[in-house]
Symmetry: C2
Subunit: 411 residues, 2 copies
Amino acid sequence: MTILIENALMLDGKRADTLIEENRIAAINPKQKDRSDVVIDATKKAIVPGLFNMHTHAAMILLKGYADDYELHEWLTQHIFPMEAKLKPKHVYYGTLLACAEMIHSGTTCFNDMYFFEEEIAKAVERAGMRAVVSKALTTQSYNRAEAKKAIKKLSDFERVLPALGPHAIYTTDKETLCDVKELASELDVLIHFHLSETKKEVEDCLKEHGKRPAEYLKEIGFLSNRVINAHCVWLNEREIKIVAESGAKMVSCPTSNLKLASGIAPLTEIVDAGIATMLGTDGSASNNSLNMFETIKLASLLQKYKQWDATALPAEQAFELATINAAKALNLKAGVIKEGFLADLCLIDLTHISMVPCYNLISNIVFSAEPACVDTVICNGRILMENRVIGWEADIKEKAMQVAEELLSE
Amino acid sequence: MTILIENALMLDGKRADTLIEENRIAAINPKQKDRSDVVIDATKKAIVPGLFNMHTHAAMILLKGYADDYELHEWLTQHIFPMEAKLKPKHVYYGTLLACAEMIHSGTTCFNDMYFFEEEIAKAVERAGMRAVVSKALTTQSYNRAEAKKAIKKLSDFERVLPALGPHAIYTTDKETLCDVKELASELDVLIHFHLSETKKEVEDCLKEHGKRPAEYLKEIGFLSNRVINAHCVWLNEREIKIVAESGAKMVSCPTSNLKLASGIAPLTEIVDAGIATMLGTDGSASNNSLNMFETIKLASLLQKYKQWDATALPAEQAFELATINAAKALNLKAGVIKEGFLADLCLIDLTHISMVPCYNLISNIVFSAEPACVDTVICNGRILMENRVIGWEADIKEKAMQVAEELLSE
């Protein structure tokens, strides 16, 4: 199928026509444009790359607002873990699909997920039409090499799904497991999705147990490499930032979740300056409680301005890159910009939406003013997932997700 | 006119019918409900008090995204002041109306404004149907007692407008002016809207000039009283918090703006604990760049969790009060809750909106998950300002505002 998007405002302030053929952007301002299957008049719209939500636990949307304003340990052990123990595949499938609807509404076309029942996640991604990294989540307790291998093989069968291994964190996954996961990731040529240095407690416990800080410990056991995507990194010190940079490992900041759980503010400016591939994520809905990447991009920029005492820190353009091109590069996807030959993963923004008026600087408005409702159309892999703010399957899934959530809570 | 809102979810988790007569909530679960002019089926909706945006410069929406990521001094002197010098009444009128549309969309029914051409602001408030505190903005340079008096008199003629005096800040308004404003406010029985301790520089300059910190200086000259609403208060220390508390003066925190301009995080928990009447505001769109109070409420809570290293700090319920009942009390309005006899300033939230699914705890969802687009209907003073997300005059005003903004920028 071919889609022609006419006369959209681009991030450089110019207007252009964008031709999509199959799953790629075939041309910007094509000479021939009379044979498109679908033509979209974008005179009142802007065209921007789809956002990448690079750390989340999508199905946790079923626990959104279920337990707020608790201390992290109490939150996990008294409220979240007991619920998660009752999860069945259907909860993960419908939960992930509901999360996909929220992400599509807020302009996200790709997400990096870590949760139970990974095959259900992949099925939901397939149905939603999005792109995703889906991890086989594991801890020392649950890890089994043969099973992990089988899971990766199964995930590989899904279109638009990048399989990954998801060892949880140093306090749930021991040295032996981490080293084995590292080897397996090399063997299968997949990414590793990991939680690193989220809380001060993690650092303190690591110092007690290993006499080293988390990144130092991971370097020592040889875990870090350019396959590893480290979520959080709130407590990395200068030496650890250097270690992560030298290893080629990547980093995802989740500013909203880190504030909500009183974990802290990641040293994002220093991490970016050290040359680490840096991205953004919302984290799961139970600790955010939203999958709105516009909020996350804005907060990432604002918190660095605060932390650096410098209103020029992490400006709009750079913050936007963290949520687009940086993630595409980290996943080795030709995506994240509107350019010939790149994947047709993109959004049309309604420039008449109240949050976008006036619009002197499109990037500024997207980073500091945009609300999800300004996203009019979302295209992923050349297919329209949402048009005029309507997702065909949304109402059904909401109902189904509410139903399984109620079952979960009343069990 | 009477409006009956049937079967809406209330903040206490129960369902109820709400009867509005004239500008008041006449009854909750009225016995007789068959004679209403308008009946709204709210089975899929929640009813909540309208939000109070207690510090803004609404017309600055015309400068939204015009100059971002600059250092505060450069931002003001190189970008904002030169534009403001060119402002004409029409810019303030259409800018304020555009801001009203954005505020109504995000559930705000009352705002506290400070800007030039106060009569234009009042006209815009009248046209929009909102409620507002409108200040006669002044500095030592511009202050003239007779003119200020005249301005207050004119503002008093507008329905739903509470007139106030708006001396800008200690670095633009000297002791003599502040003392005169204080006297005049008593004479006219109006509030005073003021900027206090927004930046570290303000504190340092005050220490240099007066040998005292800002609140100490204001106490010394006798300026503080329960008439004064202090915006920002980022740099108040323990002693100053006590001074403000003892004076009865009120406080408005603007967390988003304070981060964006790298001003800091206000000691909100300490301020609330000291018994100061505490509220929230967005500040103007040039330093935010949004008038979305949901964002402000969430950020206020999140930043206190971070600042206190305590995930239980400023919980959802308390954060919501800062944006509703606290402000109503500060303005001496019987509003801010859904209760018989209170002003009919309220919103209906669409519980099927993607940001509100699932909904275990309405306050949690409103504080941590709500997007403006979940606001379906807004009623102020018993009159419907928005229904099904539609504001009748919005399209016209957007066009007109864009037009005058272009004129302003091209002059």
